[in-house]
Point group: C2
Chain length 297, copies 2
């Protein structure tokens, strides 16, 4: 028997300033706006409280980390409760002195913390020195039930790992949210920019198709520089939501702050999975080597 | 240190008649043509010796199965040796009375059998009654070294499984070939056809990106019916080759027999994986649950 279960998901695409209180205020304002438009589950971009500080390795940036619960979860919790919405809140988490994570807190529509995820796959590339800041996640892959549905939570670099999407879907997630901070090195944009962006969106659409789940990615916009001399990163925006067949159903611009919204129809997951029953035929007897690094030694 | 290692891969897209000898003759002719154009590794479509008989469950169709080695491997082996090419030969394999597989034989450029793969994921949908005919593969995921490079072999329904692509890449494959027989139910084509095709190509491009490998899919063309009354399947052609960033570098029509070819540059795999080092950051400590069916029980 089918229940007709639908809700509206929203993704907030925004730019961040150095004023962390201003970023929080802006995020709360976007949450309110999305709620008023009918959204029930709302996702903010990765590390939305600050510029993308991982462009440089600077220990003073650990001052940006906050405890959970803390100021962000408290203030967003109030907004979430007032508007009866669930919010995916990505935070630079301070667990203890010298121990920090790139995390998500899922705040439920009663304002309380419903679940937490810590980014499992940590990148380290020029301009994305995340291994300096974040301990790899220790909580595994999450499906967190809220009133609207089962929410999967992954973060940015996790996007490139089919294992992460699969394990999140197998945990029960019906939609996977990916708060993100991805952009172009300005020197690479003209030559490689289009391919890089297309790879990013394609691999995620692939996860949606392979797992029969909705996927929503929330990116930031704007060019951020750590110094006047640095080339910086041009965050490419283009946040999107796709359906369980990989069809894009909402997509943002590359350079504007905006909210994108889409109807999430949980019956469509059932429909798609009945027609292409991939989960039925997984060869779980044959996947054991996936926990190996490469080859057989 | 880099070696500049390149070769040309070819995918044969063809239609099949009820005359199995004619299909073999046509395939050999395409192999010769591809070889003369410079191809070194050539892939035929799934079950190329016959129409796609799995549209109906009919025990007389087991007569189409052949032993390995057998007529197909013998005749194609001669062509492969004469032209110094490696060929991915998809066959309906008879292992023993009552035991049949949907297989690939990789024939090397000396005409000998270099390796074998048996389709791991077996579909069963209206018009695609493969579970009636094929025992699920028992040889695991393969990377088979030939002079040109390391060849990964998967078949059709395997396309939808990220685990299959990942394990094939981790075994060392630099290019994964997917012989295929996929098409539209004529009644669904106008409403769902475009989405179905786009899902198919997107999930495979996603595998290329996530694993940093080339991917080549060889489909058949034409509408095949099991009886005058049956709607049949319209095989959608559109065989393609994409690079390790998911960029399509060769693509066939939806309705013509043709050979598509592309240069496979093994240095490009190194280049792409250096720039997006996904393999470096796999969380192999966290993937254990991938051998579970769903959830935790």
């Amino acid at each position: 028997m089918q229940e007709n279960k639908k809700f509206t998901a929203a993704v907030v695409q925004m730019g961040m300033s150095k004023n962390t209180d201003e970023n929080l205020k802006k995020a709360k304002s976007f949450i309110e706006e999305a709620a008023k438009k009918g959204a029930k589950v709302i996702c903010l971009p990765e590390l939305f409280r600050s510029p993308y500080f991982c462009q440089a390795e600077d220990i003073t940036n650990f001052d940006l980390a906050e405890s959970i619960p803390g100021k962000s979860t408290g203030e967003i919790g109030e907004v979430a409760k007032r508007h009866r919405v669930s919010v995916i809140v990505p935070l630079f988490e301070k667990k203890a002195p010298g121990l920090y994570f790139n995390s998500i807190v899922l705040i439920d529509n009663n304002g309380e913390i419903k679940g937490k995820y810590r980014k499992m796959h940590i990148p380290d590339d020029p301009g994305f020195y995340e291994k300096f800041y974040f301990t790899p996640g220790d909580l595994g892959y999450k499906s967190i039930p809220v009133e609207s549905g089962n929410i999967g939570t992954l973060i940015c670099w996790d996007q490139w790992y089919p294992e992460a999407a699969r394990l999140t879907a197998l945990a029960g997630a019906e939609i996977i949210f990916y708060p993100t901070a991805i952009g172009w090195h300005p020197a690479e944009k003209s030559k490689h920019g289009k391919k890089q962006y297309e790879s990013w969106i394609t691999v995620q659409r692939g996860h949606a198709i392979a797992n029969g789940v909705y996927i929503a990615a929330a990116n930031r916009i704007g060019t951020e520089k750590v110094s006047k001399d640095s080339a910086g990163i041009e965050f490419w925006g283009q946040s999107f939501i796709c359906d369980p067949q990989g069809v894009i159903i909402a997509q943002a611009s590359s350079d504007k702050e905006e909210i994108i919204m889409a109807e999430i129809d949980l019956d469509r997951i059932e429909y798609i999975r009945r027609n292409w029953p991939f989960l039925r035929d997984r060869r779980i007897d044959s996947y054991g080597n996936i926990v190996q690094r490469y080859g057989d030694e």
